[in-house]
């Protein structure tokens, strides 16, 4: 049976946020009702960068609130979008008069609530715009009316880079353009060895036979379209990296930021091994790994799994990536 350190399952998120804010008093403060997280020392005279989505992906997004990254994060219930009113309130609190950038992972509920929040804000004279992050190659279909690719770990790169640009004074339209450019150069594939379990639920959200992996899994416990054979890591890495390279049309001379991300219960020993192999594979075809992030940044509760994200990196991107950042989960 899967078990967790929790009280009532419905209190998991507010209790965690209370502890989170208490653990990082110099970085963030938490507004309980409506629930959102702000920088402890709000910035002035810059476009506010805000993100949000369901909880259960920590450190995303609350862990990225701080100087050089997000001004506010809006957490929903586990795997459920925050409401439009939460987003509105957080945006009003973070706005310095120069508008609010909403970084949104592409899921129906999130998109709907962020769009509504945008309309509410516009009625109140506050400018906002959305960068929609849709990097998950596993959900790439040709249907133009379909929901499109899901948003996963590339959101960290978008938040980092837009956060840095906002800190330097970029205006809302520049940030939107920058964010969309990063998104268009980002693709992710995720794989699971075991599903996570919702707090208080004893069963993981799906069961996998011992010789199978969930290939192209999402970060909300949903199953993937495909199961593949379980094998050694070195057999998996090309299966994950090659489609990303192809879809981004990458080749000799290109530069990347690479995010190797744990989905919750995957150990650093595994993640670093994965990263080493991804890097070797890329360098073998003449692509340089200019920057990297290896760790559990976008989780799916206690899922055993990983994702590999490739992000095209030009000089501007690298410069913004390297800019100082000071948040609970990312500091340099």
């Amino acid at each position: 049976m899967r078990r967790q350190f929790v009280n009532d399952p419905e209190d998991v998120v507010p209790e965690a946020l209370e502890g989170f804010a208490a653990a990082w008093p110099r970085h963030v403060r938490w507004n309980r009702e409506p629930s959102y997280v702000l920088r402890a020392e709000p910035a002035s005279d810059k476009v506010a960068v805000l993100s949000g989505g369901g909880s259960g992906h920590e450190p995303l997004h609350v862990g990225f609130v701080g100087r050089g990254m997000l001004d506010a994060a809006v957490p929903g219930a586990v795997f459920a979008s925050p409401t439009a009113m939460q987003i509105r309130a957080a945006s009003l609190a973070a706005d310095t008069g120069r508008g609010v950038l909403h970084v949104v992972k592409n899921y129906t509920g999130d998109v709907l609530n962020f769009r509504i929040a945008g309309e509410l804000l516009s009625d109140e004279g506050v400018r906002s715009d959305i960068v929609l992050v849709d990097d998950d190659l596993a959900t790439d279909t040709d249907d133009p009316d379909g929901p499109g690719r899901r948003g996963t770990a590339a959101v960290v790169a978008v938040e980092k880079v837009c956060g840095a640009a906002a800190e330097r004074g970029a205006d809302l339209s520049e940030l939107v353009e920058l964010g969309r450019r990063v998104v268009s150069g980002s693709r992710t594939l995720s794989v699971a060895l075991a599903a996570g379990a919702h707090p208080g639920q004893s069963r993981p959200s799906f069961e996998l036979p011992d010789d199978r992996i969930e290939f192209g899994v999402g970060i909300h416990g949903e199953r993937a379209r495909e199961r593949r054979a379980f094998g050694p890591r070195r057999a998996l890495v090309p299966d994950m990296a090659a489609p990303l390279l192809r879809d981004l049309d990458l080749g000799r001379g290109d530069r990347l930021a690479v995010i190797v991300n744990g989905l919750g219960a995957t150990h650093d020993l595994e993640l670093y091994g994965l990263f080493g192999e991804v890097k070797a594979l890329l360098e073998d075809v003449g692509i340089s790994v200019a920057r990297s992030l290896v760790g559990s940044y976008v989780t799916s509760l206690d899922m055993a799994g990983c994702s590999v994200t490739l992000v095209r990196a030009d000089d501007e991107f690298l410069d913004l990536w390297d800019a100082p950042v000071s948040t609970p989960a990312l500091t340099w």
Binding site: A80, S81, T83, A84, M85, G109, I116, E119
Partner: protein, 217 residues
Amino acid sequence: MADQISPAHADLWVRGFAAAINDADDHLTDLDRRSGDGDFGTNMVTGLRRALAALPEHPDSPGAPFQALSDTFLSHSGGTSGPLFGMWFRDFAKAGHGTPALTLAGVAEAADRGWATVTRLGSAKVGDRTMVDAIAPAAESLGRSTAEGLSLEEGLRAAAEAAEAGAQGTSELLGRKGRTSYVGDAALGAPDPGAVAIGLFFRAAHASVTDGADGTR
């Protein structure tokens, strides 16, 4: 019979709608179980219970009760329908703000705006098996009734009938938006719960001006 919707009428409308949804809870949940994930009734009942607690004691405009409804739904309701209803109610709040009473033309304009809002946000067209299949005929009916100079009572009755007919019609539709698009023809034969709720919304409108003829309670 009232010929305009006073703040007290609007209050009755909202309370009547809440009561109707409450009575239909199991039925709506069952419909959502056939075409989605079965949480529609509960989501609506929970949202409306909160909204009732937030209704102003003495609404100062016919927009005020709808504003409370909208705010609670946008603040607390999840799923797909919660925020869409929140925005739908919001257009009724906007129409009713700053005016002592809403005419039939005002209701027609609110419904038109609401239709546009729901379409803009959810991008469902008529025939996609969503609440839009009840909203569209009701809005069109209200427009016709206004043009033809019908009374408030007549116009709201026609709107309720149009919404209910639109909702019933979804029984024969294949879902193309939201969760119901995943279940294919398994949902055929039963109407879309969101559309049914829109029928109840206009039925409550009509009742508010007939039952509470003097706008008091």
